[in-house]
């Protein structure tokens, strides 16, 4: 039982609930609910994007991976970061200029709303579901360990808080939760890395020397290890990480909260800088954990003769490396702070996911397809709030069901689907005149189905999770193949489409192009 952790966490919850209350009083229109009325500045949005993106998985997972295998941890974070320049160069400003609340607005700009919004909503909900399950299970385990709360209660607490933020405060509350969390996480990680470096007189070489002296793998932790065995897997994983970012619905949605393309670009620059800085901190934290924890038996489960395996026997698993390091550096008070930050980190990410899922249901499925644009704003927002509650209940249920399953592959799957369904459809509809509704639906569905199928048949799931003797698909990451299938599907499906509708869609490209480049007629999110 860690009293400082509980006190600090309750303070975070209290502050965010006060903000949610304030946000709820400001949410009057659909634009307020989905896009914070377009009133978020570029700097604020940059922080919020960073808060949305830096999950507990990247904080604890990458520092834990660095702790266990050194260099290999760096590989992941580089992949997670290099998606951001692509988002900036190709997507962000055009998304802002063409859309209002969801990325489907952009794709449906000249393509037919019914099939396109159905496809986008399915893509969004699938990505949100896998991402959310991974976060819920991780959150439950983490809270169980840090606060001693039973798993089910922990998952219920996370679900209840995220639904409260989203359903009452919409995008305004979600944004501020993400901003506060980003500041806390960056502050905490900076302090930790600073203390680690101070230990070595701010000499990186001294830190690396100490780490290689004590780590069982020695000098090998500073060069590539077993994570990348064959080039196909490496490229496929790289593609998923790089282009998945540009297809994550909760990230794309953040660009509608700023007023124009200029602010959207600025927010990507700030976000990229902050996320890059954060990943560099996690390397230092990981190597610091090697030097400060591996000689101290109190962080490990020792065998009867007092010896311990520093790689396999860490209390709570190597994902706890950063948390244990906070204790080693700043005692139980700082441990409490970092534990509370880890919890806050999860809350901000799941809130963003819930809002993206709820918007897909209310804005894409309900308002555009079911009510065919005849619903009122008030009804649409009400449907969105109800969807957020339903998503919360489903997330708690799935978190409970998957408690003892290996969910590590689910974040990778979410990125693979985002890269193979949402991203190709969005990119082709923005850049290629020839894209038609039929082509987009054919390619997007094939990308989605092939990504999910290949992951199910992969070694990680078919063998390690289902227990079959031999994988039917040889690679863990499908993106190289499923992205190719998606782009080819869109291209061929569009080329073969000779319908009158397709002609109209191709003809509408020029107007779309001018609006996407100039921002003329921008879906003004601000209504007051």
């Amino acid at each position: 039982m860690n009293i400082p952790a509980i006190v600090m966490f309750l303070m975070f919850v209290a502050v965010t609930l006060v903000i949610t209350r304030w946000a709820a009083s400001r949410v009057r229109s659909a634009s307020d609910f989905y896009a914070a009325g377009g009133g978020i500045t570029g700097t604020q949005n940059g922080l919020a994007i960073a808060g949305d993106y830096m999950s507990a998985a990247s904080f604890l997972g990458i520092s834990g991976l660095v702790f266990a295998s050194g260099f290999d941890g760096i590989l992941y974070s580089v992949g997670f970061l290099v998606g951001w320049p692509i988002v900036l160069f190709l997507i962000a400003e055009r998304l802002r200029n063409l859309g209002r609340y969801t990325f489907a607005d952009v794709v449906a700009y000249r393509l037919e709303a019914g099939p396109i919004r159905t496809l986008s909503a399915v893509g969004t909900l699938t990505v949100v579901a896998f991402y959310l399950i991974a976060q819920m299970v991780g959150a439950g385990k983490l809270i169980e360990l840090l606060f001693g709360l039973p798993y089910l209660y922990a998952v219920m607490a996370v679900g209840a808080l995220m639904v409260t933020y989203v359903a009452t405060g919409g995008m305004v509350a979600t944004t501020w939760v993400q901003i506060i969390k980003a500041c806390l996480l960056l502050g905490g990680a900076t302090f930790m890395a600073f203390m680690v470096l101070a230990n070595f007189g701010f000499s990186l070489n001294a830190m690396f020397r100490a780490a290689t002296d004590i780590h069982p793998d020695g000098l090998a932790i500073l060069s590539p290890g077993k994570l990348v065995s064959d080039p196909i897997s490496a490229i496929s994983l790289g593609l998923a990480l790089m282009f998945g970012t540009a297809g994550l619905p909760h990230i794309l949605m953040r660009f509608f909260t700023v007023k124009d393309a200029k602010a959207a670009r600025k927010s990507v620059f700030y976000a990229t800088g902050l996320i890059g800085y954060f990943y560099i901190l996690t390397f230092i934290i990981g190597f610091g954990a090697i030097t400060l924890l591996m000689s101290d038996p109190s962080y490990f489960r020792a065998s009867p003769d007092g010896s311990f395996d520093p790689l396999a026997a860490m209390i709570g698993g190597t994902n706890m490396a950063a948390v244990h390091l906070s204790q080693a550096i700043g005692g139980s008070l700082f441990l409490g702070f970092i534990s509370a930050v880890a919890f806050a980190t999860i809350l901000a990410v799941v809130a963003g996911l819930t809002l993206a899922g709820a918007s897909a249901v209310s804005h894409d499925l309900y308002a555009s397809i079911f009510a065919k644009g005849r619903s009122t704003e008030a009804t649409e927002v009400r449907i969105s709030r109800i969807s957020a509650i339903v998503i919360g209940i489903v997330a708690i249920f799935l978190g409970y069901v998957f408690e003892n399953q290996n969910v590590a592959f689910m974040v990778g799957l979410a990125f693979a689907i985002a890269a193979s369904c949402n991203f190709p459809v969005l990119l082709m509809s923005i850049f290629w005149r020839g894209t038609t509704t039929r082509g987009a639906v054919v390619g997007g569905s094939l990308g989605l189905v092939s990504a999910v199928t290949m992951v199910l048949l992969s070694p990680a799931v078919w063998v390690n999770t289902f227990g079959f003797p031999k994988a039917l698909f040889p690679y863990d990451s499908p993106a190289l193949f499923s992205m190719t299938i998606a782009f080819l599907g869109i291209y061929i499906g569009s080329k073969l489409d000779r319908s009158a509708r397709a002609e109209k869609e191709r003809a509408a490209f020029e107007d779309q192009f001018i609006r996407s480049e100039t921002g003329i007629g921008i879906g003004a999110a601000s209504s007051h």
Binding site: F71, V228, D511
Partner: protein
Amino acid sequence: MPSDTVAMIEKVKRDPEFLPVVKKRARLAWTLSALTLAIYFGFILLVAFAPDLLGRPIGDGTMTVGIVAGVGTIMLAVALTGLYVRRANNEFDAKIDAIVARAAS
């Protein structure tokens, strides 16, 4: 679509300065995208094919080429976004704003 938006789009279409600016910006965006891809996949392919090179220590220290390459890739990615935002938000936006202002008049 409101009629004034339609009229503005028609004017932009006929503006002789529109296509050159947009093409120049697009060329920068695609060049930087290709550069990002090349840097990242260059790094990944080195990991896959030349792990020994990345494991080589720098000078007399313990730090290896691989650590510097990984952190360098991150810093380059940030620098490229900074470069694009600087040019797009100043040089290109000034021209686009002028075109839109002409179309609105």
